[in-house]
Symmetry: none
Subunit: 154 residues, 2 copies
Amino acid sequence: MSNLADGMEDYLKKLLTLSASGYIDIKRKELAGKFNCVPSQVNYVLETRFTLEKGYLVESKRGGKGFVRIRKLQASLENLLDMFVQDIITGRISDDRARGLIQRLYDLKYISLRESRLMEAALDSLNIIKDKSLQETLRGWLLKDMLLMLIKFA
Amino acid sequence: MSNLADGMEDYLKKLLTLSASGYIDIKRKELAGKFNCVPSQVNYVLETRFTLEKGYLVESKRGGKGFVRIRKLQASLENLLDMFVQDIITGRISDDRARGLIQRLYDLKYISLRESRLMEAALDSLNIIKDKSLQETLRGWLLKDMLLMLIKFA
DNA sequence: TTTATACTTTGACTATCTTTGACCTTTTAT
DNA sequence: ATAAAAGGTCAAAGATAGTCAAAGTATAAA
């Protein structure tokens, strides 16, 4: 008998393969109910099994009619991401490295010239931050959020 | 099945696109009746979805023959500058206003959908900053740098 | 077999978004 | 003036989801 987390993982992955849209929407509480566990267990499964490195994107909304949406990335995007995931998940990234990644995205025709410049401009704005540590952290988030946005609407 | 507020938002936006005059007049109580909710729900939708920053103007009148008028502002650069002059001067801007500006730039066809999303993603990343003051300042720079870049390479 | 380490499960507390209702103000009709 | 007919405000309640750290379990190393 496998554990709860593995069971929930399998269940969600199965739903995903059955889904035509490439994503599924679930209710955290309902899912927890189905597996007879606390709702936060769902978060655990999402955090450990449906990560970016593994090719998944998770979005959610709170409040009435809220949801958790799990999206399976296309293989091509996964490959692309593989190159950056390491930088992204460490959470911090140097300016040079960040600009290198943007250049790479452009070379791969994944973003337009204007888009690359937009991303670079965003990086520029971080230069007014005195605290170098905060700067690196923020740069990591900036890059990650922009990249995820591109992927989400690919 | 989406929630009440989203449904009402969609309904009103649809009416707006169908309207030749550029605005629609509704009766708060009637609308609430159609959606089977309390009248103040209408206010909630107006306050969260039809704000000035998002390019809408809401006027109303009480008493007999009362109404609520929702107008989609036509975007123009002049218009935009007027609306955001204060932010530009102070160099600080709230999240809502920043997103509104981006939306308006997109309405104006100054930026593409992807570009607008990139800019929004950049804004997202600032949310990890605890210090609200620093956050507002940084947001100002971020927006300014991205905007200048767009202009420079227009 | 014990111990150390990694993985899983739980629950209390928090954050966010939505819905409702009681009470308030303005405008019009008589 | 007054009553009737709108619309407005605000705070509480409801509906979800997120975080974090403690407690429980399984696995690997000694």
